[in-house]
């Protein structure tokens, strides 16, 4: 027996109510961490705040714009070019906003590009276009949204109820949807004959392209949905800790399924937009959208592990990538160089994110 060392405070496993020895619970929890960003101090602390992280993205975007002005001058800094950037970014932007929800909920979707392709093809088949000609072009829009929604439903059911890993289930959807699109289109590009459809979505309101307006609407609705609704709160809960969400009475499987349906519908919207921009439906639409969307979401500051996400960050992420492409194109640099730069940006963003989350957890 070693009486000299047995006078330490009681261990956690066996409590006592020795009131004199009772320790103030506040004093016991060690140095205060988390909560307000201010207490962390330094760059990492600033960047971990919601404002700080987006501010970092704004700075990156401004730097890109400065580079654009220096290297391409007026060809870059014109209202027309600004609208071009926005128009180019709007399609992938809609997909990325949807992707933000799936990633916030702890999932991933690799099939978005394929769903965009399938939706665009299905909405432009002879049958659909004939129906649209007889009735209204809105039929094509509904077709695209319905196809996207059903694909999302299949993903969601497989993942939530079939318990297939999201990576695998959506990888299967990626292959199957793209294949189905090729079968339906017989690998041909389907031209859209409905001028009204093209005029509506290809046009502008008060000088702003309809595509950009659509993207803005989707972004605003997405922001409200994530930050101001119980739907958004449930999404963050199942992504942050699915077991805790389940034991709080949240229907985790159902919510998971909703997220994939939501993303599927977003892909349907993106399909309508790309149909309007290219006046075609084809099985090659949306190629590699999954990577662009995931990249935009991640550099936007949404945690890939789920539970924390930002629609504003995603929009900024999309704008950064689109501006980057634009600057490279204006300087006649090839797409291979662009890809290298994109890769570097993604790595830098994820490294920063890891630093931030480590600061949080210590």
């Amino acid at each position: 027996m070693s009486a000299d060392v047995t006078k330490a405070e009681p261990p956690s496993g066996d409590p006592g109510t020795d009131r004199t020895g009772a320790v103030d619970p506040v004093a016991q929890q060690g140095p205060p961490v988390g909560g307000m960003p201010s207490r962390q101090g330094g760059l990492a602390g600033f960047l971990s705040g919601p404002l700080g992280r987006n501010a970092g993205l704004v700075v990156a975007l401004v730097l890109l714009i400065i580079v654009g002005i220096i290297t391409a001058g007026d060809r870059f800094a014109s209202p027309e070019n600004a609208l071009t950037i926005l128009r180019l970014g709007s399609v992938i932007g809609v997909v990325s906003v949807g992707m933000t929800f799936v990633i916030c909920g702890g999932g991933i979707d690799l099939s978005v590009g394929a769903i965009v392709a399938l939706s665009s093809v299905w909405a432009t088949t002879v049958a659909t276009q004939t129906l649209a000609a007889d009735f209204h072009w809105i039929v094509m829009v509904f077709a695209a949204l319905a196809v996207g929604g059903v694909c999302g439903l299949v993903n969601g059911v497989l993942i939530a109820y079939g318990r297939i890993a999201p990576f695998i289930a959506t990888l299967a959807m990626l292959a199957a949807a793209r294949g189905l699109a090729e079968i339906i289109a017989k690998r041909r590009t389907q031209i859209i004959r409905d001028r009204d459809f093209i005029n509506f979505f290809g046009g502008s309101v008060l000088g702003i392209p309809v595509l950009v307006i659509l993207f803005a609407i989707v972004a605003v609705v997405g922001w409200v949905l994530l930050n101001r609704t119980t739907f958004g709160r449930r999404t963050l809960a199942i992504g942050g800790n699915p077991e805790a969400a389940r034991l709080a009475g949240i229907r985790v499987q159902r919510q998971t399924m909703y997220l994939y349906i939501l993303l599927g519908v977003a892909c349907g919207i993106a399909a309508v937009m790309i149909m309007a921009r290219t006046t075609t439906g084809t099985s090659t639409h949306g190629t590699l959208y999954e990577l662009d969307a995931i990249a935009a979401v991640v550099i936007g500051g949404t945690l890939l592990s789920g539970g924390r996400g930002t629609v504003v960050g995603t929009v900024l992420g999309v704008l950064i990538f689109t501006t980057l492409t634009n600057v490279f194109t204006l300087n006649n640099l090839d797409t291979s160089t662009q890809a290298v730069a994109k890769g570097a940006i993604i790595v830098a963003a994820v490294l920063l994110q890891q630093r931030v989350s480590r600061t949080r957890s210590t």
Partner: protein, 493 residues
């Protein structure tokens, strides 16, 4: 080893342990949950470094700074949670981490032959060294774990509840092997809750309590059971619980009838009246947590029913249980209860989101006001509703989980280990809070591995052992010795 102290931030897991183990003996460690057995093992295995005290090995003072250092000395550990790699073969697992030193090259055939020899020595030549560990039964995994310890040519093998997953025949096999290796001079530290086993295989017994050695070197064969139990339970610090008013007779609010789940527990029946606290006592693995999780619908009952206020709750559905008015504060606060990265407000409102929904939009003002009120009334510190829940201490986190169910307004509250990892001050606050709830007519079920806590809080107590109810009775008619007695007898049966 003498005077070993291990402190973790905020808690002292070991506060002075003395233990000497001799060549060729089976030294048994006894102690309740939380007595520090597992921490002690980890210190010996080099997983944790002690803050104070010395460890001597064959007369020389040693520092076990990492697991490899302990292994090099000849200490092999069989952990309670089996530490095998499921995707690797039996032979690969046995020689994992020391393939090179034994063979120069990791030659599969040699390793397999050596593995087969070890398994044969353990009397389990039916386990093929080539088979994947993931396909084996729990008992077979235990054998593989054992073979792994033997393969290290260890001089000291630590076995943490090796018999927990074995049936009687397998246990006697295990004992045969233990006798064989101790005859060769290998020392064994044997941990078990089963007194019968300790009597059969043990040479000497050391009892741990509250992280300290209570007594060491008792004769395992002759020390009376009563004395062992007294050593395990005798307490230096007393609990203070709020007074327990008599519960008025009346209709039960929660009624559990014949509840069972294949392989987990069976035949659990009890009821709880409004304002009453019913405690479930039992050791880890007795099925306590499984029972409350099944009542809550987080696990689907295979038999039996749960009734709240006369209405049967649909089994296997948490939302059904929640809407019937049941709330659960789960055992693992961090992994099961809290969204650690989310704010206190959103953790509190998690079970009541529908209340703050205005056509789907979240009423954030209402949410924040409610959260603020609850944090204040439960005296959660530090308070800020926007603070991340991970930044709170265990006791305050537990209050946040309680706040979630208070907000929801549940009528039946299931508390699984409500004070685990909670410091002394916050404990009595949580006890007082439970009393406040029962004053309001809430029916409470408390699960705890700390028997005094169960007895102190509850009006009635159910003792679980071997996955069923062994005893039901008034809390004031039982004491810790009696409960332990029931548990240990049940386990030996």
């Amino acid at each position: 080893m003498t005077g070993v102290v291990k402190r973790f931030p905020g808690v002292v897991a070991l506060g002075g342990v003395d233990l000497d183990v001799q060549r060729g003996e089976v030294h048994c460690l006894l102690g309740q949950n939380g007595a520090g057995k597992s921490t002690l093992i980890k210190v010996l295995a080099g997983v944790h470094e002690p803050n104070e005290g010395t460890i001597e090995w064959e007369g020389e003072q040693v520092t076990l700074s990492h697991p490899q250092a302990a292994m090099d000395l000849g200490v092999a550990t069989m952990y309670q949670e089996l530490d095998l790699v499921e995707g690797l073969s039996v032979a690969e697992n046995i020689f994992l981490g020391h393939e090179q030193t034994r063979f120069g090259f990791s030659q599969r055939s040699t390793a397999r032959r050596a593995a087969a020899a070890l398994l044969a020595r353990l009397g389990h030549s039916e386990i093929s060294p080539a088979v994947e560990v993931g396909t084996l039964s729990a008992a077979s995994c235990q054998i593989v774990s054992m073979a792994r310890a033997l393969s290290l040519d260890a001089k000291l093998i630590i076995m943490d509840e090796p018999s927990a997953v074995l049936d009687a025949g397998e246990v006697s096999q295990l004992f045969r092997v233990i006798r064989e290796i101790t005859d060769q001079g290998v020392a064994v530290i044997y941990i078990s809750h089963r007194l019968e086993e300790i009597r059969e295989i043990g040479d000497r017994v050391t009892v741990l309590k509250d992280g300290r050695t209570v007594t060491t070197g008792l004769d395992a064969k002759t020390t009376p059971t009563q004395e062992l139990i007294r050593h395990m339970t005798g307490r230096s610090i007393e609990y203070v619980f709020p007074p327990k008013p008599e519960v008025p007779a009346g209709e039960p609010l929660l009624r559990v009838e014949g509840l069972g789940r294949t392989g987990e527990f069976s035949g659990v029946s009890f009821d709880v009246r409004p304002g009453e606290v019913v405690g479930l006592a039992g050791l880890v693995g007795s099925g306590r947590s499984e029972v409350v999780e099944t009542i809550f619908g987080a696990r689907k009952a295979t038999t039996g029913t749960v009734t709240v206020d006369g209405r049967v709750v649909r089994p296997g559905s948490v939302p059904a249980a929640v809407s019937a008015g049941i709330g659960l504060c789960p055992e693992e606060r961090k992994s099961q209860a809290l969204v650690l990265g989310a704010s206190l407000a959103s953790n509190i409102s998690l079970a009541s989101l529908a209340r703050f929904s205005r056509a789907g939009l979240l009423d954030r003002d209402g949410e924040n006001t409610s959260a603020e009120e609850l944090l204040e009334s439960l005296d959660v510190r530090p308070r800020g509703i926007h603070r991340e829940s991970r930044t709170l201490s265990g006791g305050n986190q537990q209050k946040v989980v309680l706040a979630r169910w208070l907000l929801r307004g549940c009528r039946v509250l299931l508390l699984d280990e409500p004070t685990r990892g909670v410091d002394v001050g916050a404990r009595s606050e949580i006890y007082a809070l439970i009393r406040r709830l029962t004053d309001d007519g809430v029916a409470v079920v408390v699960v705890s591995s700390e028997i005094p806590e169960v007895l102190g809080l509850s009006n009635r107590v159910l003792v679980l052992a071997d996955r069923t109810v062994r005893h039901e009775g008034r809390a004031d008619e039982l004491d810790e010795h009696a409960v332990l007695d029931i548990i240990l007898k049940g386990d030996a049966a």
